[in-house]
């Protein structure tokens, strides 16, 4: 199917994160619905029904806001009738009137993808374009959290771990170990232990009594 490259890019992105294409047209409650594209999530998003509208070059009345709305509302009603729990998300690819989006929003979630840079092959031009696209359809994308900071042995924490790794090779191990040991007892303990270690290099007669 040779569709609009923007629709294609959206579909590809959604496929990446586990959405499956639905063949279209499809039937709900005996009514047939035809869209430029339809996709369905899996697992936690199994109830996501994503409809793709190509407002620039699409068929099936995609270019007519009114018809799109009618079609979506009809689908919505059909789903209601069957007691379906599908959640419909409409992705409008291309320019569209603001009131059209507002009107659609009453019945479903509306995402609007526009001005995404594509290269000659119809692929996303660069990272920024990818980010722009993602931002547009983000709600459909999984939320990826950064790796939690791993806890290390001895409860020193990831920060301490990083710190130890960041020390240069020619470090004074004894000093580092003493400092790390003392760090759990607070800043004063660190100062004390360092003072003690440094003081130890002086001959005893030079160490005066601390007044």
């Amino acid at each position: 199917m040779s569709g609009s490259p923007v629709v294609g890019a959206v579909q590809e992105r959604l496929r990446d994160v586990g959405y499956r294409d639905l063949s279209t047209p499809f039937k709900v409650a005996g009514v047939e619905f035809a869209f430029t594209g339809a996709m369905r999530g899996c697992a936690g998003r199994a109830l996501d029904l994503v409809l793709l509208i190509d407002t620039t070059t699409g068929d099936f009345g995609d270019r007519d806001g009114g018809r799109v709305r009618q079609k979506v509302e009809a689908l919505s009603r059909a789903l209601d009738v069957t007691g379906s729990r599908y959640v419909v998300t409409v992705i409008l690819a291309g320019a569209v009137l603001a009131e059209g989006i507002d009107a659609l929003s009453d019945t479903c979630r509306v995402l609007h993808v526009e001005n995404v840079k594509l290269n000659d092959d119809g692929k996303l031009a660069d990272e920024n374009a990818k980010l722009q696209l993602d931002d547009r359809i983000r709600v459909l994308l999984p939320l990826t959290l950064p790796e939690p900071l791993a806890q290390t042995e001895g409860g020193a924490g990831p920060a301490m771990d990083q710190f130890v790794r960041a020390l240069p090779a020619d470090k004074n191990d004894a000093l580092v170990d003493a400092v790390i040991d003392a760090s759990s007892a607070g800043a004063q303990a660190v100062t004390d232990v360092v003072a003690l270690i440094i003081n130890d290099v002086f001959p005893p007669e030079l160490r005066r009594e601390q007044s």
């Binding site: 063949s23 789903l79 959640v87 920060a159 660190v190």
Partner: protein, 810 residues
Amino acid sequence: MTELILKSLNINNFRSIRGQMHAPLDAKVVLVHGENGAGKTSLLSAVELALTGKVQSLEHADRNYGKQLLHRSASQGDVLVRTMAGTLEQRFEVTLTAAGAKSVTALDKQRATFFRERVFLPQSLLSQLLQIYQDSGNDVTSPLALFVAELLGLDRLDAIEAGLKPLADVRNVRKIVDGWLGAENEKSRLDLLLTDQRKRRDELIGQIRSEINEIEKLCTLLNLPVEVREETLDEVAAVLSDDTDSKDFDLLTDHRRRLSSIRREIDAAQIAINSEAAITPESADEARKAYGRWETEYGDIVSALRRRAEALLPDVSLPSDPEKFSDAALARLRMEKNQLSERTSQVRADIARRASAKDELDVALRRRKTIDDEASRLASNAGSLGSALSELTSFITDETCPVCDRNFTEVSKVPLNEHVHSKVQKLSASAERLLVIGRTRSEVQVAIERLNREIEMINARSPEEETLAQLDRRLASVEDLINELMVIAEALREGGRLRAADIAARRAVSDIQARHVSLASASDTLNDFALSIGAPALGEGDSFEIASARLDALLAVQAAHLEERLSMRRKGGDHIATLRSNVARRNEADQRISADFASAQRVEQALERAQTLRNQGNMIRGTVDKVRSAIIRKEFNDRLNRVWRDLFVRLAPGEPFVPAFRIPESSTQKLQPKLITENRKDGNAGGTPGAMLSAGNLNTAALTLFIALHLSVPEELPWLILDDPVQSMDDIHIAQFAALLRTLSKEHKRQVVIAVHDRQLFEYLRLELSPAFPDDSLLTLELSRGPHRDSVCVSKRFSFKQETALFSVA
């Protein structure tokens, strides 16, 4: 680990909820719906109270909120939350009275804090959240600092950073490291000492060099074949102290002494010869003849006089020399004459005195007799009788005598009283007279005795007239002899002189003869001496003076030469002594320098090691700083900002500005991130969220910040409890929000409890959050209450249902 989930909630008379209420919570999503005032917030607050023992949103509003917790119509109540972890059930309970809430069991402090900070978002907090984080400052208890601490656990790095801070400034290092200052002081002390000592040593080396030069010079002058070096000092000293010169000099001194003694002898001899040249044997003859003539002329007279003198002075021996004889005889005779004159005048005086003393004695004897006569007439007791009578006068009152009791008028006309008085006066006058007489008599008696003794003494000296005559005769003959001697005294003196001249002339002649002999021998001696000292012998024409002066000059030249050599040797010796002492001092200085240098090096090395350690410490601190800075930056940028952005964009896909925390480049110790907005398209910074975002999007920003914070920190409790967060959200956002909740629930396994008041939204969320897979679950709780009935909670559970509505058109 099995997920911990909220299982159920039992409420009894809490806040706006009257009576008993049970709400199941054991579903992935719990949707709470109720009209405003139905008790949604109370229900969620009840969960918070049971789990943490507090209600933070009320606490913000009223510190004494505890009294408002019980429903106002009830006297007691309680809240019980059950949780499940696998099959393990836990109870968290609070009992309520009018006085307040009493927690029976609650979460531990850490989890309670997590619940308050990261799980439960009360409605009131939503609007304040951004402000709270914006204003958080750098206080360690500020929400952001707590978040960072919670997120990163940087406290140990902080401790290291703060603990190592004193190492940055050496002044602080001195304070904390006892030995540092000591070492620095010691080092500067040693450095100064070393500089001083080196300077001194250099001076010593210079002195040693100049001493060596001096000694070399002296050795050259002395023509001593020796090499002068520090090591050959002993040798040089030995050569210098060689005693040949001194022996030579001793010899020379001997020579000179001998020469001078020879010269003295010669001089003496010559002077004697010259001065006595006048005396010749001829003049000696004349003296003898003159004396002979005088002998013949006066010899007899002198002998006669001598005999007479010897007769008069039998016990004196007189000299034979005529002059001396006359002197001695005259002296003796004059003495004799004086004695005789004295004796004659004494005898004459005695005779005269004896006569007058006898007269005086006679007078004295007569006076004594007169006194004795008067004394015998005076009563010797006159004094005592007088005083007795004078005492008696006090007893005389009339004319009657107190002794004899007779009337005195019978005897005399004079009154008795007067009579006695006159008697007393008479008696006392006699007594006085007696005293005077007695004194006078004893004086007279003394004079008598004295005169008697004098007469006796004079008698004892027997001054007879005959004796006086003899003495007079002898005196006359002495005087005669004296006169005769005086007459020929001149002749006698002449004789004496002649005799002396004769003797002297004879002695002089023999002396001259002796001198000539000695002068001849001196000449020989001088000649011998000249030969002995290697000088040419005396020439024939040489006088003694010239020869001896020549020898003397020769010896003087030699002596000067030797003296100079000796003085140079002495100087050499002195130089060697100085040199030795300088060498010793230099060696000592060397030792001290090397010892001090060693200590200085020790101290320096210690300081270097300490500095190395300090550098290490600073390096560690720098690393900490870098790491922590990197961590914070990374965590904020990669985690919090990223998640926040993701969430915010989900809810507000059309908003060009997204909120973010910006961490200033400097200062990682004080965490002061700023809230900013960034343009999504170009990443340029905008203003603060408050300035850049609409009210709806501001709410969205706060809500997503809360969720981002929740997602960024390690998960303590897998719950998200949101109290009507969408009140001012646009519809479009609500749809997105629903999708977000679903994402959190389905993908991130958070148990979501959310209260909404909007019916439509409730329905929408119910649809959107419907179970999407087996084991997924949704609970709805619908709250209602009437003015006169207990609150009611109707729960409804939705479970997964295979979706069958969609059929592809084949």
